[in-house]
Symmetry: none
Subunit: 209 residues, 4 copies
DNA sequence: AATGAATGAGTGTTCATTCAT
DNA sequence: CATGAATGAACACTCATTCAT
């Protein structure tokens, strides 16, 4: 029953572990200081290894950056995939908003890394945007259009609906510092924000009588 | 009849002109590459002057950065100031959204500069956030609460309403590259986005019968 | 029988060697041009290494400077420590003068480095002056006072005696160029100077009958 | 009886005044920081004029430096000129020491400027040293030799006697910071030092019976 | 798999000096 | 006489990357 081990492993155990450590460290650093603002030294220190050793795994700074981005993007799209065309639209969208909001709360660094890329013109993930991401958005927009066609929700531009949801949910990760400056450092604002956003969207989508 | 010339000018003509040129160039560069990603050389080149000459006006890179931020922040808050407590709430808010959206369309670089500061923890404008900005947000929230108390709009958390509007409108400046990757480069999406956002918000604010 | 090698060396062989090379080069350069007049490039070139490599060992120019000073100060105070309270005063002092003179002859660069620091207000070694150096001078003055009290030497201010000896001996290192301009480049003036100084001091210290 | 004014003045009143102001400022700055450690800006500021204006009077930094040195050297040699061959030797030398000491006390900056030049190899006044200064020293040495020949003072190397006097007196200007670190900041040590030095020298010069 | 050592190409900043007025 | 503006050349220091072991 056990998977047969290949004779020549492409990756040793320690390699896989170290790459994970590096990518975690890199996410911390890159999300906090941006690409140019981060140094390989910083990442190496946070990863608890020497700079040359780090570069043994990822030969250039750019490689580390792209690897982190790639890993991040994968999990980033996950919630969007879950829209069920046959589900109840408002419930489906509420579920989606909750999933997005959970990402912002639980993984704000990934959100900020992503936002930083966008802000600077997406030099590393331009292909991703016009490729897989566009496909996914188009698919999702199609589902929404079906709902509209069936009269299940009000007629609204599905693309801008998606963008609005993204914007509102990611805001609490990306502009966290601003939110905290206004609402106070320890306030539990994620729950309130979620309620407000879901209500705004659901009210906006209710079919007109 | 001639305007009397002040004997001691604090700034010469050429000084004012050059400072303006520098700040424009700096906005371009900083908004595109972030603080650390920008070099004084880049700014100088775009400003059409030598690096030492640029530093003759602003002694350190940081000074340029703060000057641009300051100039930007001033205009950034402008639309928020306009909420009229005695106006018709839904119309007032629609007007506000349009003003915000216009800023995103007409001055996306300022928006990205600001977003970049937030993303990196607002090292340069922390005081501004917890100071003038918080005051302004609190004032605005108070107006909205009044409207709610009078039953003019539905009961909704005013702070998260404000954040949502900010998020949705700024998104089209900050994530411009992503929007364009999905909707196409030359699509005139600002108008559609505005319509969608206004509708979402207005529907969400309509008082329950 | 073999000496056990310590597992964790704090300094590698090459590190110790290079630091020595750097400090030698730095003494040459700093003593010739002063702190501000010396460039890291100069020191690196004289040390036979690249500037970044030099800064790999001493992170800032100031670190190099302080390291040289510290190393120099240690050997600088050595002769003063040798005054034996129970020795014959005139012989003790003659020995001291000879030791000081030898330092000026054999290590004039250290003397000039030190003199330069003094001239500019001792920004880097102010603490040393009012700390260890003052203690040592006070101790020495006390010995001299004992000799005076016992009637072994004439009553003279011990502090100014010490300063005078320092001044006369160091002069041949610090003002070397002037001495050579007057006495000729290759004249062996150190020996004559020593004789003269010892005689002046000894005659001045002979107890009055 | 009045000196006729030349029609075309080589120097206007204001020119002479400003040059004096500049040289005073330059002495302050150069003596404190050395040549390379001083900036034209610093001198201009202390002189209360703009940098270009300062450079209107002295075209290059080096010109200012040389002018200060020259002015300083003139007054520096003054006391040495005063040795009267026919005076009483011990009294003459005591007078000389007092004059030298007065210079150290009243014009320590000039002393330090001069010392700094020597320390760094006298790049600007090498000619002066082997020229006028050597002549003066030789002359003075000749007078001393005459005294020795007449049996008025003990046989001692006149050159090293001169150097010793210079060293001891200048020490209190050049190493002022060190002296103050040991003797205390406000102690009036110049008088004591003078007494000590005169006594050392006079005792050393008393003819042997 | 890991690290100490080394370096070329920047990067912000200073400064003497010149230019134009 | 005086000054605001401008710049080339340096200079301290950083950083991604490579080399040797």
């Amino acid at each position: 029953m056990a998977e047969p081990q290949p004779k020549t492993q492409t990756k040793t155990r320690i390699q896989a572990i170290n790459e994970d450590i590096i990518l975690s460290a890199a996410l911390e650093v890159f999300s906090a200081f941006g690409y140019r603002g981060s140094t390989v030294d910083q990442i190496a220190e946070r990863a608890g290894m020497s700079k040359p050793n780090l570069l043994y795994y990822f030969h250039r700074k750019d490689d580390i950056y792209r690897a982190v981005l790639e890993k991040t993007l994968a999990q980033w799209l996950t919630p969007l995939r879950g829209l069920d065309p046959n589900g109840e639209p408002l419930a489906e969208i509420a579920r989606y908003i909750r999933a997005k909001m959970a990402m912002s709360r639980d993984n704000p660094k990934a959100s900020r890394l992503f936002a930083n890329e966008m802000l600077h013109g997406a030099p590393a993930i331009g292909d991703f945007l016009s490729g897989p991401m566009k496909v996914l958005v188009d698919d999702t927009a199609r589902i929404i259009k079906t709902w509209i066609a069936k009269g299940q929700i009000a007629a609204i531009d599905p693309y801008h609906l998606i963008f609005s949801i993204w914007a509102m949910t990611q805001h609490y990760a990306d502009f966290d510092i601003q939110v905290r400056a206004v609402l106070g450092a320890d306030s539990e604002h994620f729950a309130d924000a979620e309620t407000t956003i879901i209500r705004l969207i659901q009210d906006g989508l209710k079919p007109r009588s």
